[in-house]
């Protein structure tokens, strides 16, 4: 049986741990609220853009823009969106599982320090990593997006995909592989975006059947809309990943705090038992010695 002093020491250390995890939980909770708001606020915008693209998709040929044309995939380009810090439960580990499942040639572009560490540790092909701040600004993601698009157009990579923790709600984050380019299957993509926003119906909306007019012309609209869409879409995914990160961290910290509280109860009980046993022992000894005298 451990001495009372040992138990007291452990109680103290567990108390400290609880205090830290509690503080981290509160911090994560407030960050989570902001991140979730940002992720949700952007959704109508992305959704509207998706439905514009869908209208477009009926009317233009694949060959009109390199983003629309499907080509043989030699090297996939994947943007891996992870966190900078740990202590967020299995969030990153789940993403890495997806990464290890990929057997085809692939080049990685990474957001977040954890991902960069993982990719270089496992000696995968990492092209670049992009730091983003806690409150992600559009310009930060734009740099990454434009870099990938450049490689895509140069033929260094043949697809642009994103691996990220999709934010469902505070408790559920799904590790997801989301294809972004080429936009070969726009309908499917629009359904994805709508599902994200909580719309389950994928049916075609009441659409005008008259011919669509482009101003100034189709080519120019396409050229402006498509790169813009890629940037925006990637930004939205990173926002979603941030919301996931803070949610996961909050949940992990809450569990840690609850565990510490439970452990503290057990330890206190043990401590009291040990103390009582020591007192009883002492009384017995005194009584025994007085009898002997």
């Amino acid at each position: 049986m451990p001495s009372t002093r040992d138990i007291r020491r452990r109680i103290k250390s567990v108390k400290n741990t609880r205090q830290i995890t509690k503080a981290m939980e509160l911090v994560a909770a407030s960050k989570m609220k902001k991140a979730q708001q940002a992720a949700l606020a952007g959704r109508p915008y992305t959704q509207l853009m998706a439905s514009m693209l869908a209208t477009l998709a009926h009317r233009v040929e694949e060959s009109q823009h390199p983003f629309l044309a499907e080509r043989p995939v030699r090297t996939r380009g994947i943007l891996l969106v992870t966190t900078d810090k740990g202590l967020c439960g299995p969030l990153n580990a789940n993403l890495f599982k997806l990464v290890t499942d990929i057997k085809t040639p692939v080049k990685f572009y990474v957001v977040g320090r954890k991902g960069a560490q993982f990719i270089s540790r496992t000696k995968r092909d990492m092209v670049a990593d992009f730091p983003v701040s806690d409150r992600v600004a559009f310009t930060e993601v734009k740099v990454a997006a434009e870099f990938m698009v450049k490689h895509f157009l140069e033929g260094i990579i043949d697809t642009i995909e994103v691996i990220y923790p999709r934010f469902r709600n505070t408790l559920v984050q799904e590790p997801t592989v989301r294809p972004v380019l080429p936009l070969a299957n726009l309908q499917e993509f629009v359904a994805h975006v709508k599902a994200d926003a909580g719309h389950s119906q994928t049916g075609t909306r009441a659409s005008d059947t008259r011919e669509l007019l482009f101003e100034p012309n189709a080519q120019e609209v396409l050229e402006a809309l498509l790169p813009f869409y890629v940037n925006r879409h990637l930004y939205q995914l990173v926002l979603s990943a941030k919301a996931s990160e803070h949610s996961a961290r909050m949940v992990a910290m809450k569990t840690a705090k609850d565990n510490a509280t439970k452990l503290l109860g057990d330890l206190t009980l043990e401590y009291n038992k040990a103390r009582q046993a020591a007192i009883t022992q002492e009384i017995l000894e005194i009584a025994a010695s007085s009898f002997a005298a």
């Binding site: 606020a41 439905s51 008259r210 482009f214 101003e215 100034p216 609209v221």
Partner: protein, 135 residues
């Protein structure tokens, strides 16, 4: 038959209502939309967007984006949008000065940052124009 108009920015849904007509600033000049307009997809320029509903006319400043007219649905996807009442002339002027100042000060600024500031200044100009239109 009324039109439904939706103006969405990355931050929020700015406007959503049924209206009689709308004038959208585009790259090729202003486009007036009435019910029964032909389907159209166009680039939106920085400028003033006018919404008419009954006897009322609402003015908004919009900055860059796209607009789609599909049947009786008009969707405007703008990088920025603000209604006239929400424009705070003083704040806009200050922001404009600050942005211009930092553009002058920083010699070798990150091009992305520079671009961002430039578009901010442009939009500030649009906001002021919309606000001062009547005077």
């Amino acid at each position: 038959m009324p039109l439904t108009l939706e103006i969405v920015t990355p931050e929020a849904k700015v406007y959503s209502d049924t209206i009689d007509s709308v004038v959208i600033p585009t790259m090729e000049g202003e486009v007036g939309i009435l019910p029964g307009h032909i389907p159209l997809l166009t680039k939106v320029a920085n400028g003033e967007l006018r919404v008419t509903k009954g006897a009322q006319t609402l003015h908004l400043a919009v900055g860059g984006g796209f607009a789609e007219i599909d049947g009786d649905k008009v969707s405007v996807l703008a990088e920025r949008a603000i209604t006239e009442e929400q424009i705070d002339e003083k704040a806009v002027e200050d922001a404009m000065k600050r942005a211009e100042q930092s553009m002058r000060d920083a010699k070798d600024m990150d091009p992305n940052e520079f671009e961002h500031l430039q578009s901010m200044v442009r939009f500030a100009g649009v906001q002021l124009a919309v606000k001062r239109r009547r005077r």
